[in-house]
């Protein structure tokens, strides 16, 4: 006798439940719409296709890195070294390209290295029980220092045109946008429909319960970091190929921008909640805010202060929400 045989039809998920579980995503979507309409009315050039394309193309890699970051944060950890990792992997990709390696190698090897480096981070966090903030702070300085002392911050130019992944276009749209959309949707589906995806939520939400439920926490944490490394690798390839040259340094404050996108996108910094759709929307929102400051004649130097305020407001709202649950 199976239970299903006895079952009455299950009512569909109520609208209230759906709206609740995607609350933050809806808020950001609303903010995006308000921003586009508001700034567009003030200065219609903001909505020109050139500007919109540049907003998306220039920031797609941040959204992609934020997918992996979201998974790491949902699992209850954090990674402050992702900016340095992207810098290092981008430089490796460029160096391989100018040295004539096959393009596919130039694209895949950095992604693989990203997976390996972050798997090591994961092992240090999960098995050696060093807090992720400490491991990644250390990793940040190792990667950053290693990169600059190896290259001296030199620019890599004369990149072969077939290497420039981010500049490919399909149906008139740059490839970055496809990457961003496809990876976000794929990751979102995977987080919702795979056992491993749900495991990540479980570990971040209640580690003790996860252990008693029989989830192998250590292994899962290593896997989460490794997957995060893969997304960082893809982000690095897009980052490295958007301009004709690669400046082999670490993009300043990139890790912070990525973490901010995740957190503002609804990924609770205490772990256990959030979606990658939210983080991608938040990354777009940031890019749009940055761009709109220009069209609103506000000095771009205020951008980070605005970002800081947003991150703070989101964190405070998250704490308030958690106290209600």
């Amino acid at each position: 006798m199976t239970l299903q045989a006895l079952a009455r039809p299950v009512p569909a998920r109520s609208w209230r439940v759906v709206a609740e579980s995607y609350g933050q995503e809806l808020v950001i979507l609303g903010a995006l719409i308000v921003l586009f309409v508001g700034v567009g009315l003030y200065n219609p050039r903001f909505l020109s296709s050139t500007n919109l394309t540049s907003v998306f193309v220039g920031n797609a890699f941040i959204a992609i890195a934020a997918i992996g970051m979201s998974m790491v944060i949902i699992s209850g950890n954090i990674d402050v070294s992702v900016g340095s990792l992207i810098g290092v992997l981008g430089t490796i990709a460029g160096t391989l390209a100018v040295n004539g390696y096959p393009i596919i190698v130039c694209w895949l090897v950095p992604i693989l290295i990203g997976v390996v480096i972050n798997a090591v981070v994961g092992v240090l966090v999960a098995y050696a029980r060093i807090p992720s903030i400490v491991v990644t702070l250390g990793m940040l300085s190792i990667l950053k220092g290693g990169l600059i002392s190896a290259t001296g911050g030199a620019w890599i130019s004369n990149l072969p045109p077939e290497f420039m992944l981010a500049q490919f276009r399909l149906f008139g749209l740059p490839s970055s946008i496809y990457f961003m959309v496809i990876l976000t949707v794929a990751a979102a589906l995977w987080m919702r429909y795979s056992t491993f995806g749900r495991t990540i939520y479980a570990i971040g939400g209640n580690p003790e319960a996860a252990r008693v439920t029989g989830i192998r926490i250590e292994r899962s944490v290593v896997a989460v970091f490794a997957i995060h490394g893969m997304f960082a690798g893809i982000a690095a390839i897009l980052f490295a190929t958007q301009l004709q040259v690669i400046q082999s340094t670490v993009p300043p404050n990139l890790e912070l921008t990525v973490i901010t996108a995740s957190v503002v996108g609804g990924v609770s910094i205490l772990g256990g909640t959030g979606t990658v759709i939210g983080s991608t929307l938040a990354a777009i929102l940031f890019a749009a805010i940055g761009s709109s400051l220009v069209f609103l004649n506000v000095s771009a130097y205020w951008l980070r202060a605005v970002q800081g305020l947003m991150i703070l407001a989101t964190v405070l709202a998250d704490m308030a929400r958690r106290r209600r649950i």
Partner: protein, 509 residues
């Protein structure tokens, strides 16, 4: 019929403390086997061994006749053992359906989660538990305690468990919910599931169990068919001796009123509390977990300052907004959770004993080490703390000695009112008697003692008067000679009218 699970000669120690000594236990299919014992008797440890959370040091465990050694909860689950923990190990940010199926979710052909099967299965399980009102898509964090428990049970059933272990499932439930739960247990039993049922509530055990096993101080006392025993038999098996000898309450002349509380309330968790406490008196507060007893203590002590009502000390109204202020006014609180709230376990006996009066033994903010060491040596002698000396770390002491350190810390602050919350939880009988003797001595010196306890024998044995709390209110008051187990027990559990504990439980989170 063969045993679903059979344990024999199981022993377990945590550091120097032996928590299980040669315990045997078995469960047959379609049987409810109650596990009974006082706090600290070793029930939880035994459950955890069966659930694969911890391993036994020695002894044998057989499942369906096969010897097993579980390395993880996952292996226990694979053998058809599911546990409903007291602290309800659920994931607040996941939905009901996901919580039920986490770790063994139905998959689609492509290996992805089958959400529709998951939701349908969850729906069917909850319906079969007589909970058609519970939405499978809602986040578990938003549910009441009773509903979370239903989710836990559905989770156990979804794993097709042959043996379900229930750790004090009714401890936090209002009566109506407890009855519903007991109906579910009977239903499971009739389906042929074996059930390990841990509870303090003797009436429940008589209503549900087929057999009962009693543990005391980690030792196996015996297993009886429920038809062969009376409540009195079980109590004496649990306690090991007659109650009168255990509680050395000395009669002390009642002094002036020290603490008076008028219409005190904290949100809707503690409501309309009024009582007065005299010097030299031990006032017991009885009530179930979640009845608002601890919350009342926290309100008087300033952790959760009162939202309305009055507190008077020596007849003068006082406002207590923080534990520091309470301490300054001469109120001390020995908390419920010794490890979490009472002690700095990685620190030494000396540092712990001086913690509450650190500013009093300092000169111009500099800690006087000599005075501090003298204080610690004095406390060790006075309270009979068994330790290598003032510099031993508190975490290395046994439960009873840790409790004495907490007591010493607060007595050093020379309080006039001493609130003790579960003063002997989880400590062995010998140390228990010592704590009771200390309590009696302190009252004899004129301290006003407010004692909260889940253990009815303790409340009845130690108190001059007993207040009974339920649903955040005082529902009955007894003098020592009127306080019989029956009278107090029925006041604690009487069915509620018009208000459910569920709402109080939800607000407390």
């Amino acid at each position: 019929m063969s045993d679903l699970i059979a344990l024999s000669g199981i022993s377990k120690s945590f550091g120097p403390v032996k928590v299980l000594k040669e315990v045997s236990f078995d469960v047959k299919p379609g049987e409810v086997h109650a596990l009974l014992g006082e706090n600290g008797a070793g029930k939880s440890t035994l459950i955890k061994i069966m659930a694969g959370v911890i391993g036994a040091d020695s002894g044998e465990m057989k499942v369906n006749g096969q010897a097993v050694k579980f390395a993880s909860p996952r292996e226990a689950a694979a053998h058809g053992i599911a546990t409903v923990y007291q602290e309800l190990l659920l994931f607040p940010e996941l939905t009901v359906a996901e919580n039920i199926y986490l770790g063994h979710a139905p998959k689609t052909r492509w290996g992805m989660l089958d959400w529709s099967a998951m939701r349908a299965g969850a729906r069917a399980l909850l319906d079969s538990l007589d909970s058609p009102d519970l939405d499978v898509d809602v986040l578990v964090g938003k549910l009441s305690v009773a509903n979370r428990q239903r989710v836990e049970i559905a989770k156990a059933l979804s794993q097709d468990a042959k043996l379900v272990i229930m750790d004090e499932p009714t401890a936090a439930l209002a009566d109506a919910d407890a009855k519903r739960l007991m109906a579910v247990v009977k239903m499971l039993r009739d389906r042929g599931v074996g059930i390990v049922y841990v509870s303090h509530r003797l009436p429940e055990i008589f209503a549900l169990a087929d057999r009962v096993t009693v543990l005391r101080d980690g030792a196996y006392v015996g297993t009886r068919a429920i038809s062969d025993v009376t409540e009195a038999d079980l109590v004496s098996m649990m306690v090991g001796r007659a109650i009168d000898h255990l509680f050395p309450k000395v009669d002390v002349p009642r002094g002036e009123v020290v603490l008076e509380v008028k219409n005190l309330a904290y949100r809707d968790v503690v409501q309309d509390i009024s009582f007065s406490l005299h010097a030299g008196e031990i006032l017991g507060i009885a009530g179930l977990v979640g009845s608002g007893r601890t919350e009342l203590a926290l309100t008087i002590f300033g952790i959760t300052p009162a939202t309305s009502g009055e507190i008077l000390l020596d007849g003068k109204p006082v406002a207590i907004k923080s534990p520091g202020e309470a301490r300054g006014l001469g109120i001390a609180y020995i908390p419920e959770d010794r490890g979490l709230q009472g002690l700095i376990r990685p620190q030494t006996v000396r540092e712990n004993v001086s913690l509450a009066i650190i500013d009093r033994i300092a000169k111009a903010l500099v800690v006087d080490r000599g005075k501090e060491a003298a204080l610690a040596r004095d406390a060790i002698a006075r309270f009979g703390i068994r330790t290598r000396g003032p510099e031993q770390r508190v975490r290395q002491l046994s439960g009873g000695n840790q409790q004495k350190v907490v007591l010493a810390k607060w007595v050093a602050a020379e309080p006039r009112v001493l609130i003790m919350d579960e003063p002997t939880r989880g400590i062995d009988v010998g140390a228990k008697a010592e704590i009771h003797a200390l309590m009696s001595r302190l009252a004899g010196q004129g301290l006003a003692v407010l004692m909260i306890s889940s253990e009815l024998p303790e409340v009845l044995g130690m108190s001059d008067r007993v207040l009974v709390m339920r649903g955040g209110r005082i529902v009955a008051t007894f003098d020592r000679d009127q306080a019989t187990p029956d009278a107090v027990g029925s006041a604690m559990t009487a069915a509620k009218r018009g208000q459910s504990l569920e709402s109080a439980g939800a607000a407390a989170e």
